[in-house]
Amino acid sequence: MGLKTPLYNKHVEAGARIVDFGGWDMPLHYGSQKEEHHAVRGKAGVFDVSHMTIVDLRGDQAGEVLRRLLANDVSKLQDSGKALYTCMLNEHGGVIDDLIVYYMDDAWYRAIVNAATREKDLAWMRQHAESCGVTVNERAELAMLAVQGPAARDLAAPCIDAEWREQALALQPFTGMEAGDLFVARTGYTGEDGWEIVMPAASAPASWDRLLAAGVAPCGLGARDTLRLEAAMNLYGSDMDENVSPLEAGLGWTIAWQPADRDFIGRAPLEDLRANPERRRFVGLLLEDKGVLRNHQRVIVDGKADGEITSGGFSPTMGKSIALARVAAGDYDRAQVDVRGKLLDVRIVKTPFVRNGQVRIEL
């Protein structure tokens, strides 16, 4: 028996196939993973992401602590509710976790981190925050729903008090706000428009029922993975971990190099790797033949078999298999993948594969 979110009974009620996910009993799908995927691309779906860890950092020095802890720079966040995607690195420049951090006010930041990394994240944050008088408070009493898809915000709007609704609908991408006892943000992990809504655990079941009644499809972890893969959004533990630099995981864009004197943890090894022409590439792959690319399959470029698929699967939107892979440095646009002993041809493509319902690469 694993940990259960406040929506566990709702998942069972909706016919979920429950699987263990980092110690949590979570829905894999409610019948058809592919139909859930298409619901999000075409209309709206809701994911229970209450297993994720919400952390409030409070104190006058909170901003300064995060400028040292995170590879992206929270001083970019000037307006309340503005969010930043970033990695938290160790001294070797490896990724402890990837997270979203919201600036609430000068003495309050909210971070949302992965479930499987909860304990080490909290320990690392506390180690660097408490000596500066910043408290690190996990908000385990909160639930979170991700409502995603082109119709998601319209269909989810009634879940928000009338008093706040208009303002919530006007939220810009990657921005959040408090709405009574809710926290609403225009963020997600699918490549579609939508909201992530943080709420007291006790109100989660009623919000869930309301969304389903409005025609929002319940979606499980399976669809969440194929959607994020099409959107080329990294998955911690698959695409990067403590032994991988963000520079070799396609996350160079999340590193704030300026100002040059900001001494964030992991900066020095990152500077070295940045100057290294042998640094590995992180690329998208499209399998032109039939078959399915899977995690850990070998990728062969220029006769060298030292590349590896970090996330592979089948794209329901494209009807083809796609992958994210870490490959040797070099300029090439084709490769081969060892799929169960057969070498199949793949094309190296610019990601994302799919965004806002549209296929973004040439098939």
Binding site: R17, L28, H29, S32, V292, R340
Partner: protein
Amino acid sequence: MSDLPGDLLYTTEHEWLRREDDGSVTVGITDHAQAALGDLVYVELPEIDQDVDSGGDMAVVESVKAASDVYAPIDGRVVAVNEELADDPEKINAEPYGDGWIVRLQPTSDIDESELMTPDAYQALLDEEDA
């Protein structure tokens, strides 16, 4: 869980077999197997006339979630494959015991039914896995 067809034999690898009147054997995966795999997206079929050994790899079924080998339940020669699965692998999800059949084999040695499971024995295996 739906009732198991009574005219089939089963394996511990969640495959089913039907002995046809012409002596050939049709093979597919069970409803339990398709449900565990989830939506199928690709099926790799063997070549016609290929010889297979009991217990050896014969085909691969891949779902959105995972790839899974289909093992030959008997020694035989492949006499037919379900070509329709190439374009519509989800036939296996929809009708695992019907249009979702995978391979037809001509046995190349006597079939030892004691190696296979009756519907009752297979149901007992499923009940045990659920427990």
